[in-house]
Each structure stands twice: as C-alpha cells, then as structure tokens.
C-alpha cells in the first residue's frame, strides 16, 4: 500500500495547481451531471407514445370559401370518398390532432356547481369510427353508434350526453375506482352540464406535449359544421405517403375550397418535440466538450508536474522505486485531487440543480446521479493522468545525477 502521507504533503507544496484542477473537476461535474439528468428527462418525454398509429396517419384541412359552400354535405362526401380509397384504413373529421400543439380543452368535474374545480382535459370530436381511425383500444364500455353522433353548429356551447375518456382521465376523475367502474358515471362539463362516460380507451395524448395533463383526453361524438374542417386519416402499413398524394388530388377536385396543411403525424411530432431534441443534442455536445477540456487540462498540468519533478523521480528510481511505484504515485496523486474535486462537485451539482428547479421548475434529480457522477469524474481523471504518469515511468534513474 502506498503511503498517502508523502503524496499529500507533496501536493500541498503545489496547492494552487491541484486546487485549480479540483475546482475544474467540480464545475465539470456539476454541469455534466445536471446535463445528463436533463437529457434523461427530455428523452423520456419525447419517447412517450401518443396512443395513435403515428407512422401511418396524416391529416389535412379543407377550407371552403364560396358563398354556396355546404359544410355538412362536403364533409359527408369527403369522408365517404376518402374511406373508399384502397389503402385507407379509416378516416374521420376531427377538431384537433394529438401532439400537434393546438387544440381544444375543457374541464370535467364529478360534482355539479361552479364552486367545484374541473380537471383539465383535451377534447377530440369524432364519429363512431374515431376509435378505429385513431387506433386506440376500447378497454371498457362501448363505442359510439352512428346515431350518437350529432352536428355541432357554429358557436354551439352545449355538449353531447355520452363521452369516451382515456384510462388516465378515468382514474383521475375517480381515483378510488378501477377505470372500468367509471362506465355509467356522470361527469359535468361547463360546471353543470351532465355527460355519461360510456367507454374507456387506453391512451390518447392531448395536443400539448408540455402540458401536465397530457394523458387527459376524451372523445365527444360529434361532427363540426364549419367551412374549415380537418380530416384525420389512417392508412395501411407503409401506404401513408402514397395516400397523402391520393387524398390531396381527391379533395382538390372540389374547387370551392382550399386544401392546406397536409401533414403526417410523424412531422407534427418531430416539430412538437424539436425543442427537446435540440436540447438533448446541445447538452450532449456540452458533455463531450467539457470532458475533453477537463481531461486536456489534467494532462497539461500533470505533464508539467512530471517535468518539474524529473529529478525527484530519478532519485526515487535510483533508490529502488519500480516503474509501477512511479505510475501509482501519479495516479494516486490524481485520485486525491479528483476526490476533493468530486466532493466539491457533489455540492455544486446539488446547488445547480436547486437553481434549475427553482428558476425553471425542473423536477429535482434523484440522489444516485451524484455518486455515479463522482465515480465517472474520478475515472476521467485517472484516464487523463495515465499518459503523463506513464511518461514519468520512463525517466531513467540516472537523471538523479544530472542537474535539470
């Protein structure tokens, strides 16, 4: 076992150099550990499934503008035509697209009255084929029938009697019940208007990916009688791009409207999470660069210290120290410095995390990030110092007899 005492005392003779490295390691650790934590959180968020068949779905908006434009007739005709295309699994009119960033939200409550708080949820207006088109699973209860679907007029503020909610929403509304037991329960919209839950689906995310209630949504059985109308189309595997073209051509035949915003769900997802993806890439670059900068700093300073101690090393070698002893000396010296560094680093990491939590409402990081980070930085230190330390072992014992 190497005596730590002499190494430590030798270190104290060059306090500043060692201290600089230690502080550098500490700051590096604070930035790297927090970055890793943020990257992990963001990547978890970007991986959340929206519940729909993203790869095979797209949507398009049709905006009628002529005076005699009939919204109702056009929607019925469009849906019939699109559904008839081979390659299309199903198509619906919808008021908003999951993960797209824009949509419609309401509050639902289990007791009537303005004094009760509603629970926020996204609304998707679909017909009886919504479940199939969105590719969501009905877990309990039953789907809407064609007779349940109504037309929502411009400016209408009342709601249908039946709704289908996501499992997450059912559990949130009735936390004490199994989701299946929410079938037949009445919830209230607009403070007092009752609606009965007739079905529960597995998963359908809200349009806003940054929303706390992103798993809350419900299906409302209605068509929107509007001149501007969006269709959501699900195709057979691999048919999406071909179908996008066909649907566009089909709809463009009607010259009394404008066809716009034809987009795949993959595209809107990519756009909605672009900030997260960018952040992940930027922070990864930061981690790599910082590790390199710090390693090079350690290499530089260690080489310097080896050069300065050539004579001392030569003397030790002449007195019988093996190459391994010399190697171990510098490795141990770096271990001591890194040890101080990561201890300080642990404090800085927690401090930086607290700042980020307070200022930017991040969730606090789990405790195990700290020891893992400490270990990682120590390893980086050891790897970085290995080169200069090996160079030190090549110093000949005869150096002791020369003056440097």
């Amino acid at each position: 076992m190497l005596a730590l005492g002499p190494i430590f005392r030798a270190l104290l003779r060059n306090k500043v150099g060692a201290l600089l490295i230690a502080i550098q390691i500490a700051f590096t650790m604070a930035v790297i550990v927090n970055s890793v934590f943020i990257i992990y959180e963001r990547s978890q968020e970007t991986k959340r499934p929206s519940g729909i068949d993203e790869a095979n779905s797209f949507f398009v908006t049709s905006s009628g503008f002529t005076e005699n434009f009939s919204a109702k007739a056009t929607i019925e005709e469009d849906l019939a035509n699109i559904r008839a295309l081979s390659g299309v699994v199903d198509a619906i009119q919808i008021n908003a697209i999951p993960v797209s960033g824009s949509g419609w939200s309401m509050g639902l409550q289990t007791e009537p009255g303005a004094e009760h708080d509603g629970i926020g949820t996204a609304v998707y207006m679909v017909d009886e084929r919504g479940i199939n088109a969105l590719d969501v699973q009905l877990l309990a209860g039953e789907n809407f029938t064609a007779t349940d679907i109504r037309w929502r007029g411009k400016g209408a503020s009342d709601w249908p009697d039946k709704i289908i909610v996501t499992q997450a929403m059912a559990t949130r509304l009735f936390p004490d019940l199994d989701y299946a037991q929410s079938i037949g329960k009445t919830v209230y919209i607009n403070d007092t208007e009752p609606m009965i839950i007739t079905g529960v689906i597995d998963k359908l995310q809200a349009p806003w990916v940054g929303w706390n209630n992103v798993e809350h949504s419900f299906l409302s059985p209605e068509y929107l009688a509007r001149d501007s109308s969006s269709y959501f189309i699900r195709t057979e595997d691999g048919q999406r791009d071909a179908m996008m073209k066909q649907v566009e051509e089909l709809l463009a035949k009607n010259k009394s409207r404008v066809i716009q915003n034809m987009r795949s769900v993959d595209y809107v997802r990519e756009r909605s999470y672009r900030g997260h993806t960018a952040m992940i890439k930027i922070l990864t670059t930061v981690i790599i660069t910082l590790t390199i900068v710090t390693s090079l700093g350690i290499v530089g300073l260690a080489s310097f210290s080896v050069n300065r101690r050539k004579k001392q090393i030569g003397i030790r070698r002449a007195l019988g120290a093996t190459k391994a002893d010399i190697l171990r000396y510098f490795m141990t010296e770096n271990m001591i410095i890194s040890g101080f560094g990561v201890l300080l680093g642990a404090a800085l990491t927690i401090g930086l995390n607290m700042i980020l939590v307070n200022a930017l409402s991040l969730t606090p990081m789990s405790w195990f990030y700290i020891p893992v980070g400490m270990l990682a930085l120590c390893v980086v230190g050891q790897v970085a110092v290995f080169g200069p330390a090996r160079k030190a072992t090549s110093i000949a014992p005869a150096t002791a007899t020369r003056t440097v």
């Binding site: 303005a114 400016g155 404008v258 930027i282 300073l301 200022a359």
Partner: protein, 438 residues
C-alpha cells in the same frame, strides 16, 4: 516596449505550441458557447420598440371566475380581455391612443386567376395600431377612427401579400376579396417584424407578423373566426356567434399609449372606475385587480424569454468558468516552466514590472486569439441552433457588431484575469536561485 513584449509573447506561444493551442482552444470554446447562448437570450429579450416602449401599456382587467384566479400561482389578472371590454374600453377613448385587436384568418381569392386562393392570417385591429407601433408604410397609410366606427371595409397589406397579389405595385385603391368580402386597400406595409412580436405574445412571441390588417369590429359584422388563444371560465349563455361575443371568454388584446405619469394614473383610475361600474352590473366578481404594464414589463410578465434559452445560458457560463480555470492552470504551468528564463531576465536587469507587463501581454494575446476563434465558433453555434430549432428561431440567431466586439473584449479581459495569478507567480521568481541552479 509594447511591440517587444508582443514579439516575446508570440515567441513564447510558438515555443510551446501544444500548451498554447490548448489554452486558445479552451478560451475559444468557452467564449463560443457563451456568445451563442447570450445572443439568443439577448435577441429574445430585446426591446422591440425602444423609441416608445415606456409609453405603450398593455391593459389587463380581472374579469375572471369568482372561485379561481386566472393564474392560481400568482393572482395575475387574465392575459387578454373579453369582447365586451374591448368595445367599452375602446369606445371610451380615454387614452391618447388606443388599440384593440385579435387574430383571425380567412381565404383570399386573388383577382388574378393564375394565383390559387389561399388562407391569410388576419390581424383585426383599430386605426391607431399603425401610429402606436410605428409600422413603416411602403404605400398609403392606416385608417382613421371613423373607419373603425363605421366598420369600413378597408385593408392594410404586408409587403409580402402585396407582392403576391399585385406583383409589388402600388395597390392603393384596389380591392382584395377576403373571407367572402371585398376590402379596399388603403396601405401597404414595408417589411415589418418586431422581435419579439410584443403586441400579441399570447400567440407565439416569435411568430411572423400577420399578413393583412382589417378593422377590428368587422369581426362581429362578418362573424370572423377566433384564431389564437381563447379562454373561458364559463361557457357562453346561449347559442351562436353573438352569444360567444357577449360571453366572458377572452380572445382580445388592448394597448394604450400614455405619454406621462399623469396620463398613466388617470387611465388606471378610469379602469378602476369602469370595473366598479361593471361590478354594479353583476360582472367582475373578483377583487379589483387591474394592471397596466409597459412593453418591457409585459414581456417580463409573460416570460417571453424561454426557460430553455435561460438554462442554456447558465450552463454555458459554467462552461466558460471551466475553460478559464483550465486556462489558469495551463498558464501557471507554462509560466512556471519559464522560471529559468525569467530568472535570467531579472538577473540582467528586468524589473518585476517588466516581467508583469510581459506576461500580461502574453495572456492577452492568447485571449485575443481565443476570442477570435470563439467568435467563429459562435457563428457556427448559431447556425447549429437554427438547424436544430428550425425556421422559427431564424430571427434570433444573427450576430451583430456589438455582440461580436463584446465577445472579444470578454475573451481578452477573462484571459488577463486568468493570467493574473500565474503572472504574479512569475514575477516572484527570484533571480538568484534560478541563476545558481543553472
């Protein structure tokens, strides 16, 4: 003497190219990262209308739910107003200038049949908009108060739409068919894109400005759709468009121009008085909570600078700290390695001051090189940010001279500071010991 020291610095840098390169690179990386993030933050928090940002005030009144504040966490009044308030407060004409507005959209059918009909984003607004926000005009001008009151079918086009519809000609007096109605062109804006788009931050603070501008009250006449954020704390009473307009839903913004503190306190008094009157009518169930914030106050209130941008800036400052610590360490190593040289110079008559200046100049040279390289890295970083975030940041990633110069100055100052301790150590090399060891 200065040029001699510069020569010495260059010599010293060349003598130990690896260590020098490391230092230059470290400073360049730190400066590059910080400048990139600072630029984004600086542009996000830029004053979009510096010449009068202190005279323009965003109007907020608390018309919200008696049971829940609009924003539970801070009790702020709602971020928009209702149709009723937009009408009443505008018609009162109590400020020297005032504007009410909303976002909408409609299909434009061009006269020229070769151009397909397309959807345009509409800003519904009132005539003072153009004078209040200093919009540049290419042709014509905005409209007068009378046009607002008479709901005249007039339109102001942006340059882009004028180029598209009329090939960039002076189109004053021509008509545009928008959302089924004909509008007479009274003005064409020159390129105009305030950054941030402060007049309506609820609908994307860095979005493009709208494509056409028409009188606000036409929304009611032609039942123009609600675009942008709409929030309701209770649903409209009754069915249809009229019921929505009369509801407590908020979808409209109001700005007033108040030129003095007297005007500001008068306007706030007017608002308080107005709310009291409405309370008597059974509206405004919450406590009196009216707010007038000027442009920068409103930007801060709405947290226009994104959290991610702030976070990146802080991380990049810590990055810079690491790089500077690295530089201090390496400079220390470098200067101590020159002990014998310094000892020799001291022995043949150089004063401590000479040694000090020589080494500070060497540090500054490294800083200058690092700063220049860092500037390059920052340009690279900004291109990277644009690639990663897409078009919507394209207005936020340009580097101006002020930023570039600041970056270089910071690099030099930082490296001089980083060089202070190593230099001090170098100055304290005693001539005698070094000579004796030779």
């Amino acid at each position: 003497m200065f040029s001699y020291y510069l020569k010495l610095a260059a010599k010293s840098i060349k003598k130990n190219p690896l260590l020098s390169t490391l230092m230059v690179l470290a400073i360049a990386l730190g400066i590059g990262a910080s400048m990139t993030t600072v630029t984004v933050n600086y542009l996000m928090s830029a004053n979009p209308i510096p010449e009068k940002s202190e005279q323009l005030f965003y109007v907020q009144v608390d018309s919200w739910d008696p049971h829940n504040a609009f924003n539970d966490s801070n009790g702020e009044p709602p971020n928009q107003i209702t149709w009723t308030e937009a009408n009443n407060l505008f018609n009162a004409q109590q400020a020297s200038k005032q504007v009410v507005m909303a976002k909408s959209g409609g299909i434009i059918v061009p006269e020229n049949q070769d151009i397909n009909p397309f959807e345009a984003v509409i800003r519904l607004t009132t005539g003072d908009f153009f004078a209040m926000f200093n919009t540049p005009f290419l042709f014509g001008s905005g409209w007068q108060l009378a046009s607002d009151q008479q709901r005249a079918q007039v339109i102001v086009l942006t340059k882009r739409i004028n180029d598209k519809l009329f090939g960039g000609e002076n189109s004053i007096g021509r008509t545009v068919l928008l959302a089924g109605q004909n509008y007479k062109v009274v003005g064409v804006l020159d390129a105009w894109q305030p950054m941030p788009k402060f007049y309506d931050v609820n609908n994307g603070a860095f979005d493009e400005s709208e494509e056409v501008f028409i009188p606000f009250f036409l929304k009611e006449t032609y039942e123009l759709p609600n675009w942008g954020n709409t929030n309701c704390w209770k649903s409209p009473e009754g069915e249809g468009f009229k019921a929505f307009l009369q509801s407590e839903c908020i979808n409209y913004q109001m700005w007033v121009q108040l030129n003095s503190e007297q005007e500001q306190s008068d306007y706030l008094a007017f608002l308080n008085n107005y709310v009291s009157e409405q309370k008597a009518l059974g509206r405004f169930p919450r406590p009196m909570n009216n707010q007038l914030l000027d442009v920068m106050g409103w930007m801060a209130n709405q947290e226009v600078v994104e959290d991610d941008a702030k976070m990146m800036m802080w991380m990049s400052f810590m990055f810079l700290v690491v790089c500077l610590l690295n530089t201090i360490g390496l400079l220390l190593a470098k200067f101590m390695g020159k002990s014998s040289e310094i000892g020799l110079r001291r022995a043949i008559g150089a004063s401590k001051r000479d040694i000090f200046i020589q080494h500070i100049i060497e540090s500054a040279t490294i800083g200058l090189l690092g700063g220049l390289l860092g500037l390059g890295l920052a340009l690279f970083g900004l291109v990277g940010i644009e690639t990663l975030y897409g078009d919507f940041v394209s207005n936020l990633v340009s580097l101006d001279w002020v930023m570039a110069l600041t970056g270089i100055v910071i690099a030099i100052v930082a490296s001089i500071l980083a060089g202070l301790y190593p230099t001090w150590r170098a100055c304290n090399v005693a001539p005698a010991t070094q000579l004796s060891s030779q």
